[in-house]
Protein backbone atom coordinates (compact mmCIF):
# COMPACT_ATOMS: atom_id res chain seq x y z
CA UNK A 1 0.00 0.00 0.00
CA UNK A 2 2.70 2.47 1.04
CA UNK A 3 4.89 1.63 -1.94
CA UNK A 4 1.96 2.10 -4.29
CA UNK A 5 1.20 5.49 -2.82
CA UNK A 6 4.85 6.48 -3.14
CA UNK A 7 4.81 5.65 -6.84
CA UNK A 8 1.76 7.76 -7.58
CA UNK A 9 3.03 10.69 -5.54
CA UNK A 10 6.29 10.49 -7.48
CA UNK A 11 4.37 10.41 -10.76
CA UNK A 12 2.29 13.42 -9.78
CA UNK A 13 5.38 15.37 -8.73
CA UNK A 14 7.05 14.43 -12.02
CA UNK A 15 4.18 15.74 -14.15
CA UNK A 16 3.81 18.86 -12.00
CA UNK A 17 7.52 19.52 -12.43
CA UNK A 18 7.33 19.09 -16.21
CA UNK A 19 4.37 21.45 -16.26
CA UNK A 20 6.11 24.02 -14.11
CA UNK A 21 9.20 23.86 -16.31
CA UNK A 22 7.09 24.43 -19.40
CA UNK A 23 5.54 27.50 -17.86
CA UNK A 24 8.72 29.07 -16.47
CA UNK A 25 11.78 28.12 -18.53
CA UNK A 26 12.23 30.31 -21.60
CA UNK A 27 14.89 28.39 -23.55
CA UNK A 28 13.07 26.11 -25.99
CA UNK A 29 16.08 23.93 -26.58
CA UNK A 30 15.73 22.29 -23.15
CA UNK A 31 12.32 21.01 -24.20
CA UNK A 32 13.50 20.05 -27.65
CA UNK A 33 16.12 17.77 -26.08
CA UNK A 34 13.96 16.76 -23.10
CA UNK A 35 11.18 15.52 -25.36
CA UNK A 36 13.55 13.02 -26.97
CA UNK A 37 14.68 11.71 -23.59
CA UNK A 38 11.07 11.24 -22.46
CA UNK A 39 10.19 9.58 -25.74
CA UNK A 40 12.97 7.07 -25.24
CA UNK A 41 11.79 6.32 -21.70
CA UNK A 42 8.42 5.36 -23.19
CA UNK A 43 10.05 3.26 -25.93
CA UNK A 44 12.44 1.45 -23.58
CA UNK A 45 9.67 0.82 -21.04
CA UNK A 46 7.44 -0.53 -23.80
CA UNK A 47 10.23 -2.74 -25.14
CA UNK A 48 10.89 -4.19 -21.72
CA UNK A 49 7.34 -5.52 -21.29
CA UNK A 50 7.96 -8.15 -23.98
CA UNK A 51 11.75 -8.11 -24.27
CA UNK A 52 12.59 -7.94 -20.58
CA UNK A 53 9.77 -9.62 -18.67
CA UNK A 54 9.09 -12.36 -21.23
CA UNK A 55 12.60 -12.52 -22.67
CA UNK A 56 11.42 -12.13 -26.27
CA UNK A 57 14.07 -9.89 -27.82
CA UNK A 58 12.22 -7.64 -30.20
CA UNK A 59 13.96 -5.73 -32.99
CA UNK A 60 10.70 -4.32 -34.27
CA UNK A 61 10.53 -1.17 -32.11
CA UNK A 62 11.19 1.00 -35.16
CA UNK A 63 8.30 -0.65 -37.02
CA UNK A 64 5.87 0.26 -34.25
CA UNK A 65 7.38 3.70 -33.79
CA UNK A 66 7.15 4.42 -37.52
CA UNK A 67 3.58 3.18 -37.73
CA UNK A 68 2.80 5.56 -34.85
CA UNK A 69 4.38 8.45 -36.73
CA UNK A 70 2.42 7.66 -39.86
CA UNK A 71 -0.85 7.08 -38.02
CA UNK A 72 -0.49 10.68 -36.84
CA UNK A 73 0.45 11.88 -40.33
CA UNK A 74 -2.53 10.12 -41.86
CA UNK A 75 -5.02 11.44 -39.30
CA UNK A 76 -3.62 14.93 -39.69
CA UNK A 77 -3.84 14.93 -43.46
CA UNK A 78 -7.15 13.08 -43.72
CA UNK A 79 -9.24 14.70 -40.98
CA UNK A 80 -6.93 17.25 -39.33
CA UNK A 81 -7.30 15.30 -36.08
CA UNK A 82 -6.05 16.95 -32.89
CA UNK A 83 -2.89 15.63 -31.22
CA UNK A 84 -4.55 13.62 -28.45
CA UNK A 85 -6.64 11.76 -31.02
CA UNK A 86 -3.49 11.04 -33.04
CA UNK A 87 -1.86 9.54 -29.97
CA UNK A 88 -4.96 7.60 -28.90
CA UNK A 89 -5.56 6.11 -32.34
CA UNK A 90 -1.85 5.31 -32.69
CA UNK A 91 -2.07 3.35 -29.42
CA UNK A 92 -5.03 1.37 -30.76
CA UNK A 93 -3.30 0.73 -34.08
CA UNK A 94 -0.19 -0.32 -32.16
CA UNK A 95 -2.15 -2.76 -30.00
CA UNK A 96 -3.80 -4.28 -33.08
CA UNK A 97 -0.46 -4.47 -34.89
CA UNK A 98 1.16 -6.01 -31.82
CA UNK A 99 -1.56 -8.65 -31.68
CA UNK A 100 -1.27 -9.39 -35.40
CA UNK A 101 2.50 -9.47 -35.44
CA UNK A 102 2.44 -11.52 -32.25
CA UNK A 103 0.16 -14.14 -33.76
CA UNK A 104 2.53 -14.46 -36.70
CA UNK A 105 5.84 -14.43 -34.84
CA UNK A 106 5.37 -15.42 -31.19
CA UNK A 107 5.30 -19.11 -32.00
CA UNK A 108 8.94 -18.66 -32.92
CA UNK A 109 11.44 -18.70 -30.10
CA UNK A 110 14.78 -17.13 -29.39
CA UNK A 111 16.77 -15.84 -32.30
CA UNK A 112 14.07 -16.82 -34.83
CA UNK A 113 11.59 -14.48 -33.21
CA UNK A 114 14.15 -11.68 -33.22
CA UNK A 115 14.87 -12.10 -36.93
CA UNK A 116 11.16 -12.09 -37.73
CA UNK A 117 10.74 -8.77 -35.94
CA UNK A 118 13.49 -7.19 -38.05
CA UNK A 119 11.50 -8.15 -41.13
CA UNK A 120 8.44 -6.32 -39.81
CA UNK A 121 10.25 -2.99 -39.90
CA UNK A 122 11.27 -3.57 -43.49
CA UNK A 123 7.74 -4.53 -44.52
CA UNK A 124 6.18 -1.51 -42.81
CA UNK A 125 8.76 0.88 -44.22
CA UNK A 126 8.29 -0.47 -47.75
CA UNK A 127 4.52 -0.08 -47.51
CA UNK A 128 4.75 3.54 -46.35
CA UNK A 129 7.42 4.38 -48.94
CA UNK A 130 4.95 3.38 -51.64
CA UNK A 131 1.94 5.19 -50.15
CA UNK A 132 1.63 8.55 -51.92
CA UNK A 133 -1.06 10.00 -49.63
CA UNK A 134 1.33 10.20 -46.67
CA UNK A 135 4.21 11.50 -48.74
CA UNK A 136 5.84 8.35 -50.06
CA UNK A 137 9.60 8.16 -50.13
CA UNK A 138 10.19 11.92 -50.17
CA UNK A 139 8.34 12.49 -46.92
CA UNK A 140 5.78 15.09 -46.00
CA UNK A 141 5.88 18.57 -44.47
CA UNK A 142 3.43 19.12 -41.63
CA UNK A 143 2.05 22.35 -40.23
CA UNK A 144 1.52 22.64 -36.52
CA UNK A 145 -1.86 23.93 -35.45
CA UNK A 146 -1.87 26.90 -33.05
CA UNK A 147 -0.73 25.96 -29.56
CA UNK A 148 -3.26 25.39 -26.77
CA UNK A 149 -2.99 27.74 -23.75
CA UNK A 150 -1.56 27.85 -21.10
CA UNK A 151 1.46 26.85 -23.20
CA UNK A 152 3.28 29.53 -25.16
CA UNK A 153 5.05 27.19 -27.55
CA UNK A 154 4.14 23.91 -29.21
CA UNK A 155 7.36 22.18 -28.21
CA UNK A 156 6.69 22.85 -24.52
CA UNK A 157 3.25 21.35 -24.88
CA UNK A 158 4.74 18.26 -26.54
CA UNK A 159 7.19 18.00 -23.66
CA UNK A 160 4.40 17.91 -21.08
CA UNK A 161 2.43 15.40 -23.16
CA UNK A 162 5.52 13.20 -23.37
CA UNK A 163 5.86 13.45 -19.58
CA UNK A 164 2.27 12.23 -19.18
CA UNK A 165 2.96 9.39 -21.59
CA UNK A 166 5.99 8.39 -19.53
CA UNK A 167 3.82 8.09 -16.45
CA UNK A 168 1.21 6.02 -18.30
CA UNK A 169 3.87 3.73 -19.79
CA UNK A 170 5.72 3.22 -16.53
CA UNK A 171 2.49 2.68 -14.58
CA UNK A 172 1.44 0.03 -17.10
CA UNK A 173 4.82 -1.71 -16.98
CA UNK A 174 4.75 -1.62 -13.20
CA UNK A 175 1.26 -3.06 -13.13
CA UNK A 176 2.26 -5.88 -15.50
CA UNK A 177 5.37 -6.61 -13.43
CA UNK A 178 3.50 -6.88 -10.12
CA UNK A 179 0.43 -8.71 -11.41
CA UNK A 180 -0.05 -12.37 -12.19
CA UNK A 181 0.79 -11.56 -15.81
CA UNK A 182 4.26 -10.54 -14.68
CA UNK A 183 4.89 -13.80 -12.88
CA UNK A 184 3.61 -15.69 -15.91
CA UNK A 185 5.91 -13.76 -18.25
CA UNK A 186 8.86 -14.43 -15.95
CA UNK A 187 8.04 -18.13 -16.03
CA UNK A 188 8.00 -17.95 -19.84
CA UNK A 189 11.39 -16.24 -19.86
CA UNK A 190 12.88 -18.85 -17.52
CA UNK A 191 11.42 -21.89 -19.27
CA UNK A 192 8.55 -21.73 -21.67
CA UNK A 193 7.74 -25.45 -21.79
CA UNK A 194 7.73 -25.73 -18.00
CA UNK A 195 5.51 -22.64 -17.87
CA UNK A 196 3.01 -24.11 -20.31
CA UNK A 197 2.97 -27.37 -18.33
CA UNK A 198 2.36 -25.41 -15.12
CA UNK A 199 -0.85 -24.04 -16.62
CA UNK A 200 0.52 -20.75 -17.95
CA UNK A 201 -1.28 -19.83 -21.20
CA UNK A 202 2.01 -18.85 -22.78
CA UNK A 203 0.78 -17.71 -26.19
CA UNK A 204 -2.01 -15.59 -24.70
CA UNK A 205 0.30 -13.91 -22.20
CA UNK A 206 2.88 -13.18 -24.89
CA UNK A 207 0.14 -11.69 -27.07
CA UNK A 208 -1.00 -9.45 -24.23
CA UNK A 209 2.59 -8.32 -23.66
CA UNK A 210 3.14 -7.75 -27.38
CA UNK A 211 -0.08 -5.75 -27.75
CA UNK A 212 0.70 -3.56 -24.71
CA UNK A 213 4.26 -3.05 -25.85
CA UNK A 214 3.14 -2.24 -29.40
CA UNK A 215 0.47 0.21 -28.22
CA UNK A 216 3.00 2.16 -26.16
CA UNK A 217 5.58 2.19 -28.96
CA UNK A 218 3.07 3.46 -31.52
CA UNK A 219 1.77 6.06 -29.09
CA UNK A 220 5.37 7.22 -28.54
CA UNK A 221 5.79 7.66 -32.27
CA UNK A 222 2.63 9.71 -32.82
CA UNK A 223 3.74 13.09 -31.36
CA UNK A 224 7.01 12.75 -33.26
CA UNK A 225 5.33 13.96 -36.45
CA UNK A 226 4.36 17.26 -34.85
CA UNK A 227 7.70 17.47 -33.09
CA UNK A 228 9.69 17.42 -36.32
CA UNK A 229 6.94 18.94 -38.52
CA UNK A 230 8.16 16.47 -41.07
CA UNK A 231 7.95 12.74 -41.60
CA UNK A 232 9.77 10.45 -43.99
CA UNK A 233 10.01 6.65 -43.99
CA UNK A 234 13.79 6.45 -43.56
CA UNK A 235 13.84 8.41 -40.31
CA UNK A 236 10.48 7.19 -38.97
CA UNK A 237 11.47 3.53 -39.35
CA UNK A 238 15.11 4.10 -38.42
CA UNK A 239 16.63 0.96 -36.93
CA UNK A 240 18.17 3.23 -34.29
CA UNK A 241 14.88 3.16 -32.36
CA UNK A 242 15.01 -0.62 -32.15
CA UNK A 243 18.62 -0.70 -31.07
CA UNK A 244 18.23 2.16 -28.59
CA UNK A 245 15.11 0.75 -26.89
CA UNK A 246 16.84 -2.60 -26.51
CA UNK A 247 20.15 -1.13 -25.33
CA UNK A 248 18.48 1.18 -22.81
CA UNK A 249 16.53 -1.69 -21.26
CA UNK A 250 19.54 -3.97 -21.08
CA UNK A 251 21.79 -1.25 -19.68
CA UNK A 252 19.22 -0.23 -17.08
CA UNK A 253 18.24 -3.80 -16.20
CA UNK A 254 15.26 -5.75 -17.46
CA UNK A 255 13.91 -7.30 -14.27
CA UNK A 256 12.29 -4.16 -12.86
CA UNK A 257 10.35 -1.27 -14.43
CA UNK A 258 12.89 1.23 -13.15
CA UNK A 259 15.61 -0.37 -15.31
CA UNK A 260 14.52 0.91 -18.72
CA UNK A 261 13.73 4.29 -17.16
CA UNK A 262 17.28 4.64 -15.78
CA UNK A 263 18.82 3.25 -18.97
CA UNK A 264 16.84 5.63 -21.16
CA UNK A 265 17.68 8.65 -19.02
CA UNK A 266 21.38 7.76 -18.99
CA UNK A 267 21.72 6.93 -22.67
CA UNK A 268 19.34 9.46 -24.20
CA UNK A 269 20.81 12.29 -22.13
CA UNK A 270 24.35 11.30 -23.10
CA UNK A 271 23.28 11.13 -26.72
CA UNK A 272 21.67 14.55 -26.58
CA UNK A 273 24.78 16.05 -24.98
CA UNK A 274 27.06 14.43 -27.54
CA UNK A 275 24.87 15.54 -30.42
CA UNK A 276 25.33 19.14 -29.34
CA UNK A 277 28.97 19.02 -28.28
CA UNK A 278 30.57 16.64 -30.78
CA UNK A 279 28.35 15.31 -33.55
CA UNK A 280 25.13 13.45 -34.10
CA UNK A 281 27.03 10.54 -35.60
CA UNK A 282 29.01 9.75 -32.48
CA UNK A 283 25.99 8.93 -30.34
CA UNK A 284 25.44 5.66 -32.20
CA UNK A 285 29.00 4.69 -31.39
CA UNK A 286 28.49 5.54 -27.72
CA UNK A 287 25.39 3.38 -27.66
CA UNK A 288 27.37 0.44 -28.99
CA UNK A 289 30.31 0.90 -26.66
CA UNK A 290 28.10 1.25 -23.60
CA UNK A 291 26.09 -1.82 -24.53
CA UNK A 292 29.22 -3.93 -24.88
CA UNK A 293 30.60 -2.51 -21.65
CA UNK A 294 27.46 -3.35 -19.70
CA UNK A 295 27.06 -6.81 -21.18
CA UNK A 296 30.60 -7.61 -20.04
CA UNK A 297 30.80 -5.76 -16.71
CA UNK A 298 27.19 -5.68 -15.51
CA UNK A 299 25.05 -8.18 -17.40
CA UNK A 300 22.09 -7.42 -15.13
CA UNK A 301 22.31 -3.71 -15.92
CA UNK A 302 22.29 -0.79 -13.53
CA UNK A 303 19.77 -2.57 -11.30
CA UNK A 304 21.98 -5.61 -10.99
CA UNK A 305 24.99 -3.44 -10.28
CA UNK A 306 23.11 -1.49 -7.62
CA UNK A 307 21.94 -4.71 -5.96
CA UNK A 308 25.50 -6.02 -5.90
CA UNK A 309 26.82 -2.80 -4.35
CA UNK A 310 23.96 -2.77 -1.84
CA UNK A 311 24.79 -6.31 -0.77
CA UNK A 312 28.45 -5.39 -0.32
CA UNK A 313 27.56 -2.33 1.74
CA UNK A 314 25.26 -4.33 3.98
CA UNK A 315 27.87 -7.01 4.49
CA UNK A 316 30.43 -4.33 5.29
CA UNK A 317 28.26 -2.69 7.94
CA UNK A 318 27.18 -5.87 9.72
Amino acid sequence: MMRGAGFWIGAAVFIALAFAMALTIRNEYAFFAGFVVLQFIVLATAWNILGGYAGYVNFGTSAFFGVGVYTAVFLLKAVAAPLWIQIGVAALVGAALGLGVGLLTLRLRGIFFSIATVAITIIAETLITNWKFVGGATGVQLLRPPVTPPFDSYIKMLFVIAAIMVVIAVALARYVQNSGIGRGLRAIRDDEIAAECSGVPTLNLKLVACALSGALMCAAGAPSAMYLQFADPVSAFNLNYSVSALAMSLIGGTSHWIGPVLGAILLATTQQLLTVTISSEINVLVLGVMLVLFVVVAPEGIIGLARKVWRLVRRGSS
Binding site: G180, R183, G184, R186, A187, R189, D190, D191, I193, A194, A195, E196, C197, S198, G199, V200, P201, T202, L203, S255
Partner: protein
Protein backbone atom coordinates in the same frame (compact mmCIF):
# COMPACT_ATOMS: atom_id res chain seq x y z
CA UNK B 1 -15.50 -40.68 -12.25
CA UNK B 2 -15.23 -43.12 -15.09
CA UNK B 3 -13.37 -46.41 -14.78
CA UNK B 4 -10.69 -45.06 -17.09
CA UNK B 5 -8.87 -41.85 -16.18
CA UNK B 6 -6.69 -41.63 -19.27
CA UNK B 7 -7.42 -43.34 -22.56
CA UNK B 8 -4.72 -43.19 -25.19
CA UNK B 9 -6.19 -44.53 -28.42
CA UNK B 10 -4.01 -45.24 -31.44
CA UNK B 11 -1.68 -42.30 -30.91
CA UNK B 12 1.07 -41.81 -33.49
CA UNK B 13 3.87 -39.28 -33.78
CA UNK B 14 6.27 -38.74 -36.64
CA UNK B 15 9.27 -36.45 -36.88
CA UNK B 16 9.81 -36.06 -40.60
CA UNK B 17 10.38 -39.57 -41.91
CA UNK B 18 11.02 -41.02 -38.47
CA UNK B 19 8.12 -42.70 -36.72
CA UNK B 20 8.55 -42.10 -32.99
CA UNK B 21 5.21 -43.59 -31.95
CA UNK B 22 2.92 -45.88 -33.88
CA UNK B 23 -0.61 -46.67 -32.83
CA UNK B 24 -0.11 -46.57 -29.07
CA UNK B 25 -3.23 -47.51 -27.11
CA UNK B 26 -3.41 -47.79 -23.36
CA UNK B 27 -5.93 -47.15 -20.58
CA UNK B 28 -4.89 -45.86 -17.18
CA UNK B 29 -7.26 -46.41 -14.28
CA UNK B 30 -7.86 -43.85 -11.54
CA UNK B 31 -5.40 -44.29 -8.69
CA UNK B 32 -3.14 -46.62 -10.64
CA UNK B 33 0.67 -46.77 -10.41
CA UNK B 34 1.79 -47.25 -13.96
CA UNK B 35 5.37 -47.85 -15.05
CA UNK B 36 6.60 -47.00 -18.53
CA UNK B 37 9.87 -48.58 -19.60
CA UNK B 38 11.83 -49.12 -22.78
CA UNK B 39 15.32 -48.63 -24.17
CA UNK B 40 16.63 -45.18 -25.04
CA UNK B 41 14.85 -43.68 -28.02
CA UNK B 42 11.92 -46.05 -27.74
CA UNK B 43 9.41 -43.20 -27.51
CA UNK B 44 8.66 -42.99 -23.78
CA UNK B 45 9.20 -39.26 -23.47
CA UNK B 46 7.52 -38.64 -26.83
CA UNK B 47 4.44 -40.45 -25.54
CA UNK B 48 4.50 -38.34 -22.38
CA UNK B 49 4.90 -35.19 -24.49
CA UNK B 50 1.85 -36.18 -26.53
CA UNK B 51 -0.19 -36.86 -23.39
CA UNK B 52 0.83 -33.63 -21.66
CA UNK B 53 0.43 -31.58 -24.85
CA UNK B 54 4.03 -30.46 -25.27
CA UNK B 55 3.87 -32.10 -28.71
CA UNK B 56 0.74 -32.45 -30.84
CA UNK B 57 0.06 -36.05 -31.78
CA UNK B 58 -0.28 -36.88 -35.46
CA UNK B 59 -2.97 -39.50 -35.18
CA UNK B 60 -5.27 -41.14 -32.69
CA UNK B 61 -7.05 -39.58 -29.74
CA UNK B 62 -6.45 -38.93 -26.07
CA UNK B 63 -9.28 -38.75 -23.55
CA UNK B 64 -8.78 -37.64 -20.00
CA UNK B 65 -11.35 -37.76 -17.24
CA UNK B 66 -14.15 -38.06 -19.78
CA UNK B 67 -13.02 -35.27 -22.10
CA UNK B 68 -11.31 -35.45 -25.48
CA UNK B 69 -8.08 -33.52 -24.95
CA UNK B 70 -6.38 -34.49 -28.23
CA UNK B 71 -6.37 -30.93 -29.55
CA UNK B 72 -5.98 -29.01 -26.29
CA UNK B 73 -2.85 -26.92 -25.69
CA UNK B 74 -0.64 -28.10 -22.83
CA UNK B 75 -1.74 -25.45 -20.35
CA UNK B 76 -5.38 -26.49 -20.66
CA UNK B 77 -4.44 -30.13 -20.07
CA UNK B 78 -2.60 -29.07 -16.93
CA UNK B 79 -5.71 -27.21 -15.81
CA UNK B 80 -7.78 -30.36 -16.40
CA UNK B 81 -5.44 -32.29 -14.12
CA UNK B 82 -2.38 -33.62 -15.96
CA UNK B 83 0.86 -32.48 -14.36
CA UNK B 84 4.37 -33.65 -15.13
CA UNK B 85 8.02 -33.38 -14.29
CA UNK B 86 10.80 -33.30 -16.87
CA UNK B 87 13.63 -35.66 -17.67
CA UNK B 88 16.05 -32.74 -17.51
CA UNK B 89 14.74 -30.46 -14.72
CA UNK B 90 13.23 -27.21 -15.95
CA UNK B 91 13.00 -24.89 -12.94
CA UNK B 92 12.08 -21.22 -13.23
CA UNK B 93 15.63 -20.18 -12.38
CA UNK B 94 14.98 -16.53 -11.57
CA UNK B 95 12.47 -17.53 -8.91
CA UNK B 96 12.61 -19.05 -5.45
CA UNK B 97 11.21 -22.52 -4.84
CA UNK B 98 8.13 -20.92 -3.31
CA UNK B 99 7.55 -18.77 -6.39
CA UNK B 100 8.02 -21.76 -8.69
CA UNK B 101 5.10 -23.46 -6.99
CA UNK B 102 3.01 -20.30 -6.89
CA UNK B 103 3.17 -20.11 -10.70
CA UNK B 104 1.52 -23.52 -10.85
CA UNK B 105 -1.13 -22.65 -8.26
CA UNK B 106 -1.95 -19.29 -9.81
CA UNK B 107 -2.17 -20.50 -13.38
CA UNK B 108 -3.19 -24.14 -13.21
CA UNK B 109 -5.82 -23.98 -10.48
CA UNK B 110 -8.27 -21.70 -12.24
CA UNK B 111 -10.46 -19.61 -9.99
CA UNK B 112 -8.85 -21.05 -6.86
CA UNK B 113 -10.00 -18.00 -4.91
CA UNK B 114 -7.11 -18.38 -2.48
CA UNK B 115 -5.67 -15.34 -0.74
CA UNK B 116 -1.92 -14.81 -1.01
CA UNK B 117 -1.62 -16.23 2.48
CA UNK B 118 -3.66 -19.34 1.70
CA UNK B 119 -1.71 -19.97 -1.51
CA UNK B 120 1.53 -19.72 0.47
CA UNK B 121 0.13 -22.15 3.04
CA UNK B 122 -0.80 -24.64 0.35
CA UNK B 123 2.68 -24.38 -1.15
CA UNK B 124 4.30 -24.96 2.23
CA UNK B 125 2.08 -27.99 2.86
CA UNK B 126 3.30 -29.50 -0.42
CA UNK B 127 6.94 -28.63 0.28
CA UNK B 128 6.60 -30.13 3.75
CA UNK B 129 5.29 -33.37 2.30
CA UNK B 130 8.09 -33.55 -0.25
CA UNK B 131 10.78 -32.50 2.19
CA UNK B 132 11.74 -29.14 0.72
CA UNK B 133 10.12 -26.78 3.22
CA UNK B 134 13.47 -25.44 4.43
CA UNK B 135 14.38 -24.50 0.84
CA UNK B 136 11.26 -22.44 0.12
CA UNK B 137 13.04 -19.12 -0.03
CA UNK B 138 16.12 -20.33 -1.89
CA UNK B 139 16.54 -19.51 -5.56
CA UNK B 140 15.74 -22.60 -7.60
CA UNK B 141 19.00 -22.12 -9.50
CA UNK B 142 20.90 -23.06 -6.34
CA UNK B 143 19.24 -26.39 -5.67
CA UNK B 144 21.09 -29.71 -5.85
CA UNK B 145 20.08 -32.34 -8.38
CA UNK B 146 17.88 -34.31 -6.00
CA UNK B 147 16.28 -31.10 -4.70
CA UNK B 148 15.54 -30.03 -8.27
CA UNK B 149 13.83 -33.36 -8.93
CA UNK B 150 11.76 -32.95 -5.80
CA UNK B 151 10.91 -29.36 -6.67
CA UNK B 152 9.63 -30.47 -10.07
CA UNK B 153 7.35 -32.99 -8.41
CA UNK B 154 6.27 -30.35 -5.89
CA UNK B 155 5.53 -27.88 -8.68
CA UNK B 156 3.51 -30.52 -10.48
CA UNK B 157 1.60 -31.16 -7.26
CA UNK B 158 0.84 -27.47 -6.85
CA UNK B 159 -1.28 -27.75 -10.00
CA UNK B 160 -3.55 -30.10 -8.00
CA UNK B 161 -3.33 -32.89 -10.58
CA UNK B 162 -5.39 -36.04 -10.93
CA UNK B 163 -2.58 -37.60 -12.96
CA UNK B 164 1.10 -37.07 -12.24
CA UNK B 165 3.63 -38.04 -14.88
CA UNK B 166 7.14 -38.44 -13.58
CA UNK B 167 9.68 -38.48 -16.41
CA UNK B 168 12.82 -40.12 -15.05
CA UNK B 169 12.69 -38.22 -11.79
CA UNK B 170 15.39 -40.52 -10.43
CA UNK B 171 17.90 -40.38 -13.26
CA UNK B 172 21.38 -39.56 -12.02
CA UNK B 173 20.49 -39.85 -8.34
CA UNK B 174 22.34 -41.86 -5.71
CA UNK B 175 20.72 -44.95 -4.19
CA UNK B 176 19.37 -43.31 -1.05
CA UNK B 177 18.08 -40.39 -3.10
CA UNK B 178 16.23 -42.79 -5.41
CA UNK B 179 14.45 -44.16 -2.35
CA UNK B 180 13.58 -40.65 -1.20
CA UNK B 181 11.95 -39.75 -4.51
CA UNK B 182 10.25 -43.14 -4.69
CA UNK B 183 8.78 -42.59 -1.23
CA UNK B 184 7.47 -39.23 -2.34
CA UNK B 185 5.74 -40.77 -5.36
CA UNK B 186 4.24 -43.56 -3.24
CA UNK B 187 2.99 -41.03 -0.72
CA UNK B 188 1.32 -38.97 -3.43
CA UNK B 189 -0.27 -42.07 -4.91
CA UNK B 190 -1.59 -43.03 -1.49
CA UNK B 191 -3.46 -39.72 -1.50
CA UNK B 192 -5.32 -40.81 -4.60
CA UNK B 193 -3.20 -39.36 -7.37
CA UNK B 194 -2.68 -41.55 -10.40
CA UNK B 195 1.00 -41.79 -11.28
CA UNK B 196 2.72 -42.67 -14.53
CA UNK B 197 6.42 -43.26 -13.93
CA UNK B 198 9.04 -43.42 -16.64
CA UNK B 199 12.19 -44.90 -15.28
CA UNK B 200 15.37 -46.67 -16.24
CA UNK B 201 16.14 -47.85 -12.74
CA UNK B 202 14.46 -51.26 -12.84
CA UNK B 203 14.35 -51.82 -9.10
CA UNK B 204 12.41 -48.60 -8.70
CA UNK B 205 9.97 -49.48 -11.48
CA UNK B 206 9.42 -52.95 -10.08
CA UNK B 207 8.91 -51.71 -6.54
CA UNK B 208 6.60 -48.92 -7.59
CA UNK B 209 4.39 -50.14 -10.41
CA UNK B 210 1.20 -52.13 -10.33
CA UNK B 211 1.34 -52.41 -14.10
CA UNK B 212 4.21 -51.92 -16.53
CA UNK B 213 4.30 -51.21 -20.23
CA UNK B 214 7.40 -51.59 -22.35
CA UNK B 215 7.95 -49.60 -25.54
CA UNK B 216 10.45 -50.36 -28.25
CA UNK B 217 10.91 -48.35 -31.45
CA UNK B 218 7.60 -46.58 -30.95
CA UNK B 219 5.47 -49.69 -30.39
CA UNK B 220 4.14 -51.45 -27.32
CA UNK B 221 5.93 -54.75 -27.05
CA UNK B 222 4.59 -55.88 -23.72
CA UNK B 223 2.19 -54.87 -20.98
CA UNK B 224 1.27 -56.50 -17.71
CA UNK B 225 2.38 -57.04 -14.11
CA UNK B 226 5.99 -56.03 -13.40
CA UNK B 227 7.01 -59.67 -13.04
CA UNK B 228 5.38 -60.72 -16.30
CA UNK B 229 6.97 -57.88 -18.23
CA UNK B 230 10.40 -58.61 -16.77
CA UNK B 231 10.15 -62.23 -17.82
CA UNK B 232 8.91 -61.43 -21.31
CA UNK B 233 11.31 -62.56 -23.99
CA UNK B 234 10.74 -59.51 -26.26
CA UNK B 235 11.46 -57.15 -23.39
CA UNK B 236 14.70 -58.92 -22.59
CA UNK B 237 15.66 -58.81 -26.26
CA UNK B 238 14.86 -55.10 -26.52
CA UNK B 239 17.02 -54.32 -23.52
CA UNK B 240 19.84 -56.68 -24.26
CA UNK B 241 19.72 -55.94 -27.99
CA UNK B 242 19.69 -59.61 -28.93
Amino acid sequence: MSEVLLRVDGVSKRFGGFTALEGISVDIRPGERFGLIGPNGSGKTTLINCISGVLPSDGGSIRFDGYDITRLPAYKRTRRGIARSFQVPRPFRSMTVLENLLVAIDFAVVGHGLSTRQADDEVFAILEKIGLADKAHISSGQLSQVELRKMELARAMAARPKLLISDEAMAGLAGSEVDEVLDVLLKLNAEGITVIMIEHIMQAVMRFSERVMCLDAGRIICEGTPQAVMNDKRVQEAYLGA
